[in-house]
Amino acid sequence: MYVMVVGAGKVGWNLARELIEKHHEVTVIEGSRRRYEIVEEELEHSIQFGDGSELWVLERAGIERADLVIAVTGDDEDNILISQVAREKYGVERVVARCNNPRNLQHFELLGIKPAVSATDLILRLIEHEVPQYGLVHLLDLKEERLEIIEVEVAEGSAAAGTAVKELGLPDGSLVISILRDGGGFVPNGDSVVEGGDEVLLVLDIGLESEVTSRFQGQVTA
C-alpha cells in the first residue's frame, strides 16, 4: 500500500516508522526545514520537504497513486484542506485526518472528512473511563446510525440496584447488553438482577441518555 503522511510531527513521524516496518511504501511531507532535516536523518528518502497544502508538492509526492493519505499537521485548517483535495481532486479513497482542537471536529464533519481523529477527545474519553464522572462513560457513538453505547455505574440505593433487568422500566430504544461485576462480565436476560456497584453497558438511541442514566444514579442529597 502507498501511504502519504502529511506532517512530520511526533504523530506523523511515529506513524511513518510503524507503516514502514509493516512494509508499506511511505512518503512523509514536512514544511519546516529544521524538522525535515531531523526526521530525514532516519527516514531518508521517505520524507520530502515542502508545504503539504501546495498542490504541486502533493503531486510531486505522487498523491494520484496514494492508497491512503494521512493529514496530521498541527493546523486543523491545513488538515481539512489536504484531506479535501486528496479525496475530491485526486480521488484518494482512504483519508484519515487529525483534528487538533476537538471543537473543530464539526468542520471536518461538515466538509465530509472522516474519519477525523482527535487525540484530545480520545484522551478525554480515557480520562472519563479511568475517572468516571457522574458514573457515565461514552464507549462508542455511532453518529450516522444514531446509536450510542454507554457504560454506567449502578449507585447503591438507586432505583436500579436490586432490580431485575425487565423491571428496570427502561424506555423503548434502550437495551442492556452486559453487566460487569467482580472483574467479570455477562450478557443478562430479563430476570438478571442488577446490583449496586455493577457497571452496566447499554446501547441506546441518541437522546435517551439522561432518562436512562437517572435510573442508575443515587438519590441526590442536598
Partner: protein, 148 residues
C-alpha cells in the same frame, strides 16, 4: 446589506471601510484586537462610532463567527492571511450558514483555481498580478502609477 469580513489586514480593512461608506452594515472579525487600528486609520471618527462593529476571535471558532453575526450576513469575505483558513471558513459560511454571497481571497493560484471549479467565488491577487504584469511587459497595457 449586512457584510461580514473575516481577517482585518490591508485587504479586509479596506473593503470594510468602503462597504461602511456605502451605508452597508459591516462587521469585522479578527483574532488580533489591535487590528481595529487599521479600521480607524485615516478616519475622523472611530470605526465603532461610525456604526461598524468589530469582534475579536478566531475565524474557525463557530462562537466567534456567531458573535460577529454570521447568521444574518448577506455577504461574507474571507480575507485572513491564511489560504487554508480562508478556504475552510468560506465553505462553512456557504454550507453551514448558507450565506448568499461568499468571496474568498486565495494567494496560491493552484488552490484558487481548483476551489473556484468547486463553486467558490475566489479572488487570487497573485493571478491578477501575473496577468497585469504580463500584459504590461508585452506592451498591451500601459499604466501610470499603481495598477491592479
Amino acid at each position: 446589506m449586512f457584510v461580514l469580513i473575516v481577517g482585518c489586514g490591508r485587504v479586509g480593512s479596506a473593503i470594510a471601510k468602503s462597504m461602511l461608506a456605502e451605508r452597508n452594515e459591516v462587521s469585522v472579525l479578527d483574532e488580533n484586537p489591535e487590528a481595529i487600528a487599521l479600521l480607524n486609520r485615516g478616519q475622523e471618527q472611530t470605526w465603532e462610532d461610525m456604526g461598524g462593529s468589530f469582534t475579536v476571535g478566531t475565524a474557525l471558532e463557530i462562537d466567534a463567527l456567531l458573535a460577529a453575526g454570521i447568521e444574518g450576513a448577506d455577504a461574507f469575505v474571507a480575507s485572513t492571511d491564511g489560504d487554508n483558513t480562508n478556504l475552510v471558513i468560506a465553505q462553512i459560511a456557504q454550507r453551514r450558514f448558507e450565506v448568499d454571497r461568499v468571496v474568498v481571497r486565495v494567494l496560491d493560484p493552484a488552490r484558487a483555481r481548483w476551489y473556484a471549479q468547486q463553486g467558490l467565488q475566489t479572488v487570487c491577487p497573485t493571478q491578477t498580478a501575473i496577468e497585469l504584469l504580463e500584459a504590461a511587459v508585452r506592451g498591451q497595457i500601459r499604466f501610470e502609477g499603481v495598477s491592479g
